[in-house]
C-alpha cells in the first residue's frame, strides 16, 4: 500500500465563504463549504467524491485548482520536477507548472464553452501561453486532441452551438487535456447529459485514463456513476468526508449511516439491488450554521449522545487489509479494534 505514489495531498483544508450582513456589510459568519478535509490522491487512480448538493465537493476541487482560496489547511502537489509544491502558489514558474498538471472538466455543457469562439479559439490562448508558437502546430495539437476524444477533426472551426451536449462535453475534456495534465478533476462531468450520452462520455473517460495514465478526481452526486468509474470513493457531507475507502469495500460495508441512507435512497432499476429504504428526515443543514457535534446527528437514527457534542474525526481502519476511513462515533465503537495505527502519520 505504501508504495503507491501520492500526487496530491490535502490536509485540514477549510474553505469558508464570508456572509456579509447588517448595515455595514460586516462579515457576520461563514458558509463552511469545506470544513476540514484530509485526502490523498494516488497516482493513476480514480478517486470519486460523492455527496449531495451543498456538501462542498465542488468547492473542494475548485480550491485545488485555485479558483477558490482556502482559509486553512494545506494542499501539496508532489512531483518529480519540483518535489512538492504547496498550493496556492504565487511563484510564476510553479504556477505555470501546476496549471499544466491539474486540469478541470466542468459540469454544464452549455456554459463550459464560450459561444463566441470556435473549438480551436477556445484552446488557442492556452496553447500560446504554453509556448506553442506556430499556429500550424497549435492547430495540429487541437486536431490530435479532438481525435483522441473521438471527434472529427473538422470540428476544429465550428462554434459550440453547432454541437450536441455530449460533443461539447468531449470538447471540454479535450480542452482540459490540451496542456497534458496528470490530474483531471471532473466536476459532475456527466450529470447534465442524457443517459445514452452519459455512457458514451464515461466510456471515453475510462479509455483516456488507460491510454494516458491520468489520475482522476471524479465528483458526482450519483452513486451508481461513481461506483462504476472509481477505484476509491469518498463520501462527503456538509464540508467533511464521512467515509472513504476502496469502491468494493465501501459498497460492501457502508459503515456510515449517511452513506447507507444515500445508498438506500437511490432508485434502482434492478430489483435485486433494492435495499430497505432509509428515509431521512429534513434537509441538509445550512452550511453557514451546521449543528454542533456530528453534522449529521439531527437526521441520524443511530445518533448517540456524544454525537451531539463532539465532531467525529475521520479515523482510519483496516478493512480487507486496506485503509478505510469513517467519521462516526457509533461506527468507531464497533470498529475500534480495527483502527489503523498509521493514521497518526497524517
Amino acid at each position: 500500500m505504501q508504495e503507491r505514489e501520492v500526487v496530491l495531498e490535502i490536509s485540514g483544508l477549510k474553505t469558508y465563504f464570508p456572509i456579509k450582513t447588517g448595515i455595514f456589510k460586516r462579515t457576520s459568519g461563514f458558509i463552511k463549504a469545506v470544513d476540514g478535509v484530509d485526502l490523498k490522491v494516488f497516482k493513476g487512480e480514480t478517486l470519486g467524491i460523492v455527496g449531495e448538493s451543498g456538501c462542498g465537493k465542488t468547492t473542494l476541487c475548485k480550491t485545488i485548482v485555485m479558483l477558490n482560496s482556502a482559509c486553512e489547511g494545506k494542499i501539496l502537489w508532489h512531483d518529480d520536477e519540483f518535489g512538492s509544491i504547496q498550493l496556492p502558489t504565487k511563484d510564476k514558474k510553479q504556477l505555470k507548472h501546476i496549471r499544466n498538471r491539474i486540469q478541470y472538466v466542468f459540469q454544464d455543457p452549455q456554459s463550459s464553452l464560450n459561444p463566441a469562439f470556435t473549438v480551436f479559439g477556445a484552446m488557442d490562448d492556452a496553447l500560446k501561453v504554453n509556448g506553442v508558437k506556430s499556429r500550424k502546430e497549435r492547430r495540429q495539437i487541437v486536431c490530435d486532441l479532438l481525435r483522441s476524444v473521438n471527434m472529427r477533426e473538422d470540428a476544429l472551426d465550428l462554434y459550440p452551438h453547432e454541437f450536441s451536449g455530449g460533443q461539447r462535453q468531449r470538447i471540454g475534456i479535450a480542452r482540459a487535456l490540451c496542456v497534458k495534465p496528470e490530474l483531471l478533476i471532473c466536476d459532475e462531468a456527466v450529470s447534465a447529459l442524457d443517459v445514452s450520452i452519459q455512457a458514451q462520455v464515461l466510456h471515453l473517460l475510462c479509455d483516456l485514463k488507460n491510454r494516458l495514465g491520468l489520475t482522476f478526481l471524479f465528483i458526482t452526486h450519483s452513486l451508481s456513476v461513481v461506483e462504476y468509474i472509481s477505484d476509491r470513493i469518498a463520501v462527503m457531507y456538509l464540508g467533511r468526508i464521512v467515509e472513504l475507502g476502496d469502491t468494493d469495500d465501501l459498497f460492501q460495508n457502508m459503515f456510515h449511516p449517511y452513506t447507507q441512507a444515500l445508498r438506500s435512497a437511490v432508485p434502482v432499476v434492478d430489483d435485486s439491488q433494492r435495499t430497505t429504504r432509509i428515509l431521512l428526515s429534513g434537509d441538509v443543514p445550512n452550511p453557514a450554521d451546521p449543528p454542533p457535534g456530528c453534522a449529521f446527528h439531527e437526521r441520524c437514527w443511530r445518533c448517540m449522545p456524544e454525537c451531539k457534542v463532539e465532531t467525529p474525526k475521520l479515523r482510519s481502519y483496516k478493512v480487507n487489509d486496506k485503509d478505510y476511513y469513517v467519521a462516526c462515533h457509533e461506527v468507531h465503537e464497533k470498529l475500534k479494534d480495527k483502527e489503523n495505527e498509521t493514521n497518526g502519520n497524517k
Binding site: K62, V65, M66, L67, L95, K96, R99, N100, I102, Q103, Y104, F106, Q107, D108, S111, S112, L113, N114, P115, A116, F117, A122, D125, A126, V129, N130, G172, R175, A176, C178, V179
Partner: protein
C-alpha cells in the same frame, strides 16, 4: 382573446404549410440580425435612418444653397419651389441648413455614443470581471454620476469649459459612460461565473486576455443596442442644450441650434417652417434610431420570441 387566437392560428397554418411543403433551407444570416430584419418597424427605421444619413452627408447633391449664405432681403420666406423649407430670419435656406446641420448633430450623437460606450465598456468589463476595490470605486463613481441629472451636469460643465463642438463631445462622453459601464459590468458579473471562464483560468490564460478577448465579446450584444439608443439620447440632449442656448455655439448650425429660434413666440406662431421641419427631422431621426435599437433589442432578447 379570440381574434388573437385566430390570427395566431392563421400564422401557424402558414408555417405548417411551409414546413410540410418541403425542407426549408438553413439560413446563413445571423439569427439576431435575421429577426431584426423581420421586424417591420426596424426596417422602416433603417430606411429613414439611411435616407437622413445620405441626405446629410451628401448634402451638396441635394441642395444648391450654401447653408451659410445670408440673404437678408429674402428673410422669413415661407416654403416655395426655390426654398422648399423656406428661409430663416436672415434669409438662409432652411433645407440646406437642416442637411448641413444634421452632419454635426449626427456626428455629436454618434461620436458621443461611441466614445461613451468605449469608456464604459473598457471600465465596466474590467470592473465586472475583477471585482474588488476597482469595481467598488468605479461603482460608487458611476452611482454619483447617476444621481446627477445628466443635463444638469452637462450645463455645469458647459459653463465651466465653454461652448464648442469638441467640448460638447467631451462632456457627453464624460457624463454618459456610466449607463454602459453599469450594463457591461452587470453582464460581466454574470458571465465571469460561466464555466469557460474558469476553464481558461485553470488553463493559466492571463486575466486581461480572458476578460477582454474571451468574456467581453459575449457581453457586447446589449451594448451595441445601447450604442444606438444612446446616440438617440445624445442627439436629443444636444438639441435640449442648444435650445437653452448652452450647447454648440449658436452661430454653428446644428439641429438644436436651428430649432432654438422656436424660443421666440412670434416665430412659433407665424413662421412655422422654421421650427417644424427641423423639429420633425430631429424627431424622425431619433425615432428611426429607436426603431432600429428596439428591433435589435427584441431580436437579441430570447424572452421576446414571436
Amino acid at each position: 382573446m379570440n381574434s388573437m387566437q385566430r390570427r395566431l392560428n392563421k400564422k401557424m397554418d402558414i408555417l405548417l404549410e411551409r414546413e410540410n411543403s418541403g425542407p426549408l433551407k438553413k439560413k446563413n444570416l445571423n439569427r439576431a440580425l435575421r429577426r431584426a430584419l423581420q421586424n417591420k418597424l426596424a426596417l422602416v427605421g433603417l430606411g429613414i435612418f439611411l435616407s437622413i444619413i445620405i441626405l446629410c452627408f451628401f448634402a451638396p447633391l441635394f441642395t444648391k444653397y450654401d447653408p451659410l449664405k445670408i440673404n437678408i432681403r429674402a428673410s422669413l420666406q415661407s416654403p416655395s419651389a426655390a426654398h422648399i423649407f423656406g428661409t430663416d430670419t436672415i434669409g438662409r435656406d432652411i433645407f440646406s441648413r437642416i442637411l448641413y446641420g444634421g452632419r454635426l448633430s449626427i456626428l455629436i450623437g454618434f461620436g458621443s455614443a461611441i466614445g461613451a460606450s468605449f469608456l464604459g465598456v473598457v471600465l465596466g468589463a474590467w470592473a465586472g470581471y475583477r471585482g474588488g476595490w476597482f469595481d467598488f470605486l468605479m461603482l460608487r463613481t458611476s452611482e454619483l454620476f447617476l444621481f446627477f441629472p445628466q443635463i444638469i451636469l452637462c450645463l455645469l460643465l458647459v459653463t465651466m469649459v465653454g461652448q464648442s463642438v469638441g467640448n460638447l463631445l467631451g462632456i457627453f462622453i464624460f457624463t454618459g459612460w456610466c449607463g454602459i459601464f453599469r450594463m457591461t459590468r452587470a453582464r460581466m458579473l454574470s458571465l465571469r461565473e460561466e464555466e469557460y471562464v474558469q476553464a481558461l483560468k485553470v488553463l493559466g490564460v492571463p486575466e486581461p486576455i480572458i476578460c477582454y478577448k474571451h468574456v467581453l465579446p459575449n457581453a457586447l450584444g446589449p451594448v451595441f443596442v445601447n450604442i444606438t439608443l444612446s446616440t438617440a439620447i445624445f442627439i436629443l440632449q444636444e438639441a435640449a442644450l442648444s435650445f437653452m442656448g448652452l450647447g454648440v455655439p449658436l452661430e454653428i448650425a446644428t439641429w438644436g441650434n436651428i430649432l432654438n429660434v422656436a424660443n421666440n413666440l412670434n416665430i412659433l406662431k407665424v413662421n412655422w417652417w422654421i421650427w417644424l421641419p427641423v423639429g420633425t427631422m430631429i424627431s424622425l431621426f431619433v425615432l428611426s434610431i429607436n426603431f432600429i435599437g428596439d428591433g435589435l433589442r427584441d431580436s437579441t432578447d430570447p424572452s421576446q420570441q414571436g
